[in-house]
Symmetry: C2
Subunit: 239 residues, 2 copies
């Protein structure tokens, strides 16, 4: 069934305009009486189309249920800004796998360092990629692409999560030895191409993050977040 993300519905009727309305009426050629799903904040609103006009699709909510595709754990990925379009691949893949929020940040060894204006443009594009991936994979939310942070800000932001993990190429615990039982929110911090400086690893430790080591094979910086998201979703029973 087609899925669309909407703002919080105010009543039992949902009015869709713009590109989604066009998509429903023209691309999908849907008709009154047919069913579709609107998603907001982890709730799936099962709807029936009441009326389709040139510019609006009006739907009636038949049922509202928690999205069964949303994982039981909120995973925030703090990703040091990588080169080229690697962040787009990371966003697409981790969205499919169940990430809740992605926070790009600048660490010492980042080579790409977008300024505020150029980041805002990228952020818009990346948010679009997250939305597309969320629709395609049947997510109940669109993961948020946060504003670009400094490492210090990212470490401060991480404190919101119950469990804080810091992927470090120089060693640490195995993911399988971390007690995830009952944890509702996990933060994972991952480096860019050059990894992290020792001082950064210490700062992360001082912020309460546990160092994680992914083994002997050196993963590219875009492979690491995809692998870690998959593993955490598996360990927490969400995959």
């Amino acid at each position: 069934m087609p899925r669309f993300f909407i703002p919080a519905p105010a009543s039992d009727f949902i009015s869709v305009t713009g590109s989604d309305a066009h998509h429903i009426g023209y691309s999908l050629r849907m008709k009154p009486g047919e069913e579709l799903t609107f998603c907001h904040g982890g709730t799936d609103y099962c709807c029936v189309i009441e009326n389709i006009s040139e510019s609006e699709v009006l739907c009636r909510v038949v049922d509202a249920v928690p999205s069964k595709s949303e994982p039981s754990v909120e995973l925030t990925l703090y990703q040091a800004y990588p080169k080229q379009d690697k962040l787009e691949l990371i966003i697409q893949k981790t969205t499919e796998l169940g990430v809740t929020r992605i926070v790009p940040f600048i660490s010492s060894r980042c080579i790409a360092r977008p300024d505020e204006k150029s980041y805002r443009k990228k952020q818009e594009r990346m948010q679009k990629i997250a939305e597309e991936a969320a629709k395609q994979s049947g997510r109940g939310i669109i993961p948020e692409i946060a504003p670009l942070m400094t490492m210090k800000q990212a470490l401060e932001d991480m404190k919101k999560s119950e469990l804080k993990l810091f992927c470090y190429e120089n060693g640490g615990e195995k993911l399988s030895s971390i007690p995830f039982g009952g944890v509702k929110s996990v933060a994972v911090m991952i480096g860019s191409e050059g990894g992290f400086e020792r001082a950064e690893a210490e700062a992360a430790e001082n912020s309460g993050a546990t160092q994680i080591w992914l083994g002997e094979r050196i993963l590219r910086c875009e492979t690491c977040p995809i692998a870690v998201t998959a593993i955490i979703m598996n360990i927490t029973g969400n995959m």
Copy 2:
């Protein structure tokens, strides 16, 4: 330390010619007395350069040790042929994560269906990608890219592995419920864009494969093998 893959060494001296010799002598500007590592079949040969000429680098083997980056489990990925260059991404990422062999095959819903000649060209290119990824990630072997198989051939080939898994979008067991204990070889079969036909799932089951279900979120066909490889490496203690 620089790593190079070589044929099985016949003696305590290893002679390198061609592009690797050029890379050692010119790109890396290495000198006699310096150390490098040659890899073959999961063994790391720690060597000292004895002599460098125009066309040859002669090295003496100082030590031969099992590569510590090789996982304890042999993972063969049977991947239904996807569209575009997705197979290249799959090969790169699963090589980093520890796959042993990749067997592309044609299933009912494959859209891309290369003929033998065009596959042979692609196979060469994909083998090169596996080699690059193996070098970059510090693997002890280069994963083999097998000839293109039919689904029937792939199912027959899978029988070589102790544990056979079939990823099915219509349901099955969770990866975390599979007993991997003591298993030395695992085969995983994954679909292309359209997934598998019911008859194909039945054929896989009849061949002794266990159906695996990766949960409610629909993964793109290139995301699935990356996620599954990461999860299996984690479960088997190799990540």
